[in-house]
């Protein structure tokens, strides 16, 4: 039984130039304890998918619809805003990209942790303080007790992201969404944060949606990957399967444009030419077609169907890349 079930999720935004289909019929499942990667370039709909699951998309101008968006057996879209607020922070939590800006600069770290503990677990006073110290220690912040009185600007980016993770995990959520959580950090810190998330979520059986445009990060962390392009999932599969047999022109392009440290030296990076399509007009064919290097004749005629390759690996691509 999967924790999160997304069926035909559509998120649209009303703009003066027309309706933008930011997420255009996304479906996937997330099992208990699974770490799912969501990759794609800017504007591919990764973040909006995440925000839609948390129902944090401002409505209006946004509008979320789905055949099903069920979390732990409950339809999220049927919940009232007040019910949704109960879920956010307690059963589902989110960590954002920019740790420099995701903590309130005028409140102490302690106050910001305590606020969440008070909000969802009704913890107060000494008990709350003890819990806050414990949380900071689990994410590896030394001298936790004195740090409670510190302000965000006294912390480095990595420490702030640790605090954000501590806050996100403070109420033992069943789902953690990390939206480019390590993108703003340098590589060594990035590795530490990834290890931290891996350790904490494995211990508690937390399911994770890890959003990134960095395939390397995803490869090291996730069990499964969804590759998104133009508001759609274009390829999905277990991490090994997908990396060994990329089966969509876009996945192939992403891999060709990512530097690798292991093996295959001397390979030149090949950028993906062109720009993602406008999401305002309907896209009749494969949305990646204009930029695709491996397109076949059939691509000009019909929209590709989903093709299964076994072991839960599928792609919406007509080119025969697997062989």
């Amino acid at each position: 039984m999967s924790l999160l079930q997304v069926r035909n999720l559509r998120t649209r935004f009303a703009t003066d130039r027309g309706t933008v289909n930011a997420v255009n019929g996304v479906s996937f499942d997330l099992a208990e304890g699974e770490i799912l990667g969501l990759v794609g370039e800017s504007g591919s709909g990764k973040s909006v998918t995440a925000l839609s699951i948390m129902r944090l998309v401002p409505e209006p101008p946004g509008h979320i619809t789905a055949d099903s968006l069920s979390f732990d057996g409950r339809e999220l879209l049927a919940l009232s805003e007040a019910q949704m607020r109960e879920e956010r922070g307690s059963s589902m939590a989110m960590v954002f990209q920019d740790p420099m800006r995701s903590l309130n600069p005028v409140l102490t770290i302690g106050r910001q942790i305590l606020e969440v503990l008070h909000r969802h677990q009704k913890l107060d006073g000494a008990a709350a303080k003890r819990r806050a110290i414990e949380l900071l220690e689990t994410v590896g912040i030394p001298l936790a007790e004195t740090r409670l009185k510190a302000y965000p600007h006294q912390f480095s980016g990595g420490m702030r992201q640790r605090v954000m993770i501590a806050i996100a995990l403070s109420c033992n959520p069943r789902l953690l969404i990390a939206d480019e959580a390590t993108t703003a950090l340098d590589v060594t810190i990035q590795a530490q944060i990834i290890d931290l998330v891996k350790r904490l979520t494995r211990d508690r059986g937390t399911s994770v949606i890890w959003i990134s445009h960095d395939l390397g990060v995803v490869a090291g962390l996730c069990d499964r990957v969804n590759v998104m392009y133009a508001g759609n999932i274009v390829e999905s599969g277990p991490i090994r399967e997908l990396f060994h047999r990329p089966s969509h022109g876009y996945t192939l392009g992403l891999m060709g444009s990512t530097p690798r440290l292991d093996g295959t030296g001397g390979r030149r990076l090949t950028p993906i030419e062109g720009m993602p399509p406008s999401l305002i007009d309907p896209i009749p064919l494969c949305p990646f077609l204009p930029r695709c290097r491996v397109s076949v004749a059939a691509c000009q005629e019909r929209r590709p169907e989903r093709r299964e390759f076994g072991a839960g690996h599928w792609a919406t691509c007509l080119a025969d890349l697997a062989s």
Binding site: M54, L56, R85, E86, E87, R88, G89, S90, A93, M94, F96, Q97, D98, R101, S102, L103, N104, P105, V106, L107, T108, G110, R111, L114, E115, V116, L117, H118, R119, H120, L123, D124, G125, A128, K129, L148, K149, Y151, H153, M164, I167, A168
Partner: protein
């Protein structure tokens, strides 16, 4: 906030830190002390003042400053120093009440406007625009003219003039802060709109609001002076800084001290308040905090 027992120890510690910061700004401290002295002198005017402020004594008229009359006497032989003390009661209470009025009216309107946006915002900002199209003093004159030349009406009018300015400023800050990631992060953690407005938006706007309020205070003291100068505010023989300034105008060449006293007090007051506002802004923003400790002397 008092209902959550977890907060006081943090809340206090940050207040203590802020209080410790304030004296580090010299100008602000001096401003605070001067202002406090002026306020106390005005509050205890009946005990401090050497003479009755409205007692006419023509034999003593237009005397220059001396030991007997510290700031000289006016054209009715009234002691200017005593008049300044009593006048301060009017001028300062106008300042305080106008600040209070502008705060109570302006801040919630600005917050609501900026946070909810859309139609609410549009409606309120057009209303503010309507107020701002009039020159502020003219609007105050019109309102006082409508309500009658009374000191309460002056306060009301000045408050009504200042509130829209504050509301617009608060709205602007709200719009800027609302888009910050930590507001979305707070929502992602289940914070309610009330919580977001009070503990995230408002807390991050304390500095600009405080600064704006000191500006409002200065503006109110000056505006009361202007209105009294024009004959709308305080009525003779009641003393007020602005009122006395207006009367002194006729004796500018014969008795310049008559003019100097109220003008310099107003100037000192306004300057003190502005310096104090500056210091408050720095003290209330943890990012601007400085420490005097050096490495090795324990944290």
């Amino acid at each position: 906030m008092a209902s959550t027992p977890a907060l006081p120890f943090h809340f206090r510690s940050s207040l203590v830190l802020a209080a410790r910061q304030f004296p580090r700004n010299r100008a602000a401290t001096v401003g605070f002390v001067i202002l406090l002295a002026i306020c106390l002198a005005a509050a205890f005017a009946p005990w401090v003042a050497p003479y009755d402020p409205i007692q006419i004594k023509l034999s003593m008229k237009l005397k220059p400053p001396s030991l007997e009359h510290l700031m000289g006497t006016d054209h009715f032989g009234r002691d200017i120093f005593s008049r300044m003390l009593y006048g301060g009661r009017t001028s300062l209470s106008v300042g305080l009440l106008v600040v209070g009025f502008a705060f109570i009216l302006g801040v919630p309107l600005g917050l609501a406007s900026g946070y909810f946006g859309g139609k609410v915002d549009n409606f309120m900002m057009r209303l503010v625009d309507a107020f701002l199209t009039f020159p502020p003093l003219l609007l105050a004159v019109a309102l006082v003219g409508l309500l009658g030349p009374d000191i309460q009406n002056v306060m009301l009018a000045l408050g009504l003039v200042q509130a829209p300015i504050l509301a617009r400023m608060v709205r602007g800050s709200t719009l800027a802060v609302r888009e910050d990631v930590y507001v979305t992060a707070a929502r992602a953690l289940g914070a309610s709109p009330v919580r977001i407005v009070l503990s995230h938006l408002l807390r991050n706007m304390v500095s600009p609001i405080v600064v704006q309020l000191t500006v409002v205070f200065s503006a109110a003291v000056v505006a009361e002076a202007s209105l009294s100068f024009l004959g709308f505010g305080t009525q003779p023989p009641e003393p007020s800084w602005g009122r006395d300034m207006s009367e002194a105008r006729r004796f500018l060449s014969d008795a310049p001290w008559m003019f100097m006293a109220p003008t310099s007090i107003i100037a000192v007051c306004v300057l003190s308040i502005n310096f104090m506002g500056d210091g408050l802004r720095d003290a209330l923003d943890p990012r601007a905090w400085r420490t005097r400790r050096s490495v090795g002397t324990d944290a």
